[in-house]
Amino acid sequence: MSALADLGIVFGRVAFAMLFVVNTAALLGWVERKQSAIMQDRIGANRASILGFRVLGLFHPIADAIKMLTKEDFRPARADRVLFALAPFVSVFFGLVAFASIPFGDTLRVAGREVPLQAVTLNVGVLYVFAMLSLGVYGVMMAGWSSANNYALLGGQRAAALMISAEIAIGASIMGVVMVYGSLDLMDIVRGQGALLFGWIPAWGIVTQPLAFVLFVTAGIAATKRIPFDTPEGESEIIGYFVEYSGMKFGMFLMADLVETTVIAGLTTSLFLGGWQVPYLVAEGFRFPWGAALALPHLLVVLLQVGAFVTKVSAMIFFMMLVRWTLPRFRYDQAMRLGWLGLFPLSILNIVLTGLLLLLWGARA
């Protein structure tokens, strides 16, 4: 019986992370259209209706999925069969598994068990997410190469170059955070952000590592290959790596981008925005810096924490979409220059500065 319960708990942890990413990604297709419509003073997607109900166009993701599933699945005659079919799956797969070590809550105590609210507990969680994100580019490169289309190949090459330049900056800017909180485990990093600076400022990553935050978010948006870093796609010039794809395979590339957006938002939340931390909320309830305290039951605390995580991820995604509909596309060479001559040296500077400050801080304390 207890073995069965353990299995159920593991299943639940994985299912929550998985369903969270998949459903967020599906919703994002709608959010993206609606947000751009509001920003551009249009009405936006509102036509899909079920029995006359439109609900702000919320049925559009379902309509899109049905449309894509029923379209012709076309493959160019000279395409590489296996790689052409494999590419969209590789893209989505690495985006989905990347979310596994991002914690969405503190330890939950149920029936004498301690359940860490995280699909997989890993010592090297940060590196794991980073590794999975860096593998995602293979899907795009395989698509570009196997399509036997020069525009697709160009898109695949651009994606590879962009990913490498963005990922170096991501890796280097994470290092500052790792140095401050002294762990590669995302759960430990989030716990570390629960401390208070000067007794009242939550020690979130954005406070302790402001430069790294800016660099990470910039490089993160580049890694999702979205505007203003959508040179691999560039729908007004080369159309991009998925030019030969149709139906649901095309839809999977679209979904992979949205999944990656969710993962980057989740990682930003965990590293810089305190993850599931609610300011002044500790395991027993609220404890305010002015001395007041409010005891809360364990379940409510956990619910608040999961809610805080979801809210922060949503806010981060909202911000990334705001950027998407605000800035024009960088030219390919501009994106490269920003990555290699802007983000990368600055993130190295951030590591040096963080090391210096940590040394001085340690010497004083």
């Binding site: 590196l127 980073f130 590794a131 490169m141 190469w145 090459q157 590879a160 490498i164």
Partner: protein
């Protein structure tokens, strides 16, 4: 039991992808097989409890170096298949006996002792902190030598790229 299943799946993947790398004539397929191979070996590292090594293997080799390889192959080889006579026939003929020799050596080592080799290094450090401390104290010299080697390679690349440009 489940450990054995996982081991055999990973081992089969590693051997199969290595064979694919050698046997496929298409360079892109070969490179992608190598990525699968690196990934499955990383899985084996993970099973041995070397989480950091596994992550580093995936990030550095599969995620960075191989991406550059595939990128270079895409740029340099426009056709789908390498055709024409093999320019390095002699090397190809030398490969089987050398490979057989390596297999023999490995079989010899495995047959001699099943455990760790005599005079082996202390068991792998369990935590990342211990690993870092070892790297910066006991193994500082080889560590710094490696960084000099990487620096030399970087300077060399810059020199080569500049010559072609001007």
């Amino acid at each position: 039991m489940s450990t054995w299943v996982a081991f055999f799946v990973l081992a089969a993947l590693a051997v199969g992808s290595a064979l694919g790398l050698v046997l496929r004539r298409n360079p892109i397929h070969g490179a992608l097989f190598l990525v699968v191979n690196l990934g499955s070996v990383a899985g084996l590292y993970l099973m041995l409890g070397a989480e950091f090594l596994a992550a580093a293997q995936v990030i550095v080799y599969a995620g960075a170096i191989m991406v550059l390889f595939v990128f270079a192959i895409m740029v340099l080889i426009p056709g789908k298949e390498e055709t024409g006579p093999d320019p390095r026939r002699a090397v190809r003929l030398l490969a089987p006996p050398l490979g057989a020799l390596l297999c023999l050596l490995l079989a010899f080592v495995v047959a001699r002792g099943t455990g760790a080799p005599a005079g082996a290094a202390p068991p792998a450090p369990a935590t990342l902190g211990a690993l870092g401390r070892l790297l910066f104290t006991r193994y500082l010299f080889p560590f710094e030598l490696t960084s000099v080697l990487l620096l030399a390679a970087m300077v060399g690349v810059l020199l080569l790229a500049r010559k072609r440009g001007s």
